[in-house]
Symmetry: C2
Subunit: 165 residues, 2 copies
């Protein structure tokens, strides 16, 4: 799907455009800058696609989201690796091991169910995962106390979604 019909920042609009300086894209760019990474055209495009998607997405799909030859597939790989290193994106996986990336701007990091058949990604509501989130953070805390550093986690639910079958 090559959706070339979307502008810079689509989603998340409730209080009109207001000050664009705290748009997700700008926040993301600020993170790049403070990490000493350069703000380039490909990176802006990739971040835009990541934000527009708003959920874990494969590199292949992200690349397809970019218009025409906005940037090379290899660049998407390299950028996402760099973004992950500074914590700008969070990585997870399809059931088959293919990497998925989701923007990580602090807020609203939902957990997801991924369909084993179609790879469709669906967010699980916060109420359902509140306890889980707390438990995961608690375990991470314990690990840090035990000397582990750069602690991260992957929590993924896989299932066959209701419609199919």
């Amino acid at each position: 799907m090559v959706a070339s019909n979307h502008t810079a920042h689509p989603v998340s609009d409730e209080a009109a455009q207001s000050t664009a300086s705290d748009s997700p894209l700008n926040l993301a760019c600020a993170r790049l800058k403070s990490a000493g990474l350069r703000i380039t055209q490909p990176r802006i495009a990739i971040l835009g696609a990541l934000i527009a998607r708003g959920q874990p997405t494969s590199i292949e799909n992200l690349h397809a989201d970019l218009k025409d030859g906005a940037c090379d597939l290899v660049t998407v790989y390299r950028c996402l690796a760099a973004f992950e290193q500074i914590g700008l994106v969070k990585r997870s996986f399809y059931h088959n091991g293919t990497a998925l990336y989701a923007i990580n701007l602090g807020a609203s990091n939902a957990y997801h169910v991924i369909c084993k058949e179609t790879n469709q990604v669906t967010a699980i509501d916060a109420d359902t995962t509140a306890q889980l989130r707390a438990a995961v953070e608690s375990v991470e805390q314990v690990l840090k106390e035990r000397g582990y550093t750069e602690v991260t986690h992957v929590v993924e639910f896989f299932a066959v979604a209701p419609k199919t079958r």
Copy 2:
């Protein structure tokens, strides 16, 4: 390319231990049988290696554990895929996406931390993960109530392990 972490595990003496009929290996074979899968030499060897390891292990390492040319690497792939399908093994991943498999005989399924640098797999004690386990099961329950089937999950902690030298 990394970590051949051997946690000395004597399992070859199944005959000497009380009733051998409920040894892990026999339980595993029973699962194969009731799933309509044939019990073959390669499968017994792979299950033995899986049980001996007792924790998530890569296919490469499992294959290396088998004596000489006990069976082909491709067979290990195929068997583990079959085992996973009947729930005999549980799959997880290294931080780089490489698949890991652990035997799943119902009891004592610990959660693990995997070192981002060395891929060393370490179990996290049950006390620390009790709450997490409960939360995960609760989420799975909700998903089932919502019509998802064959619900499984992957919960993995990644970190740089404390240096021990």
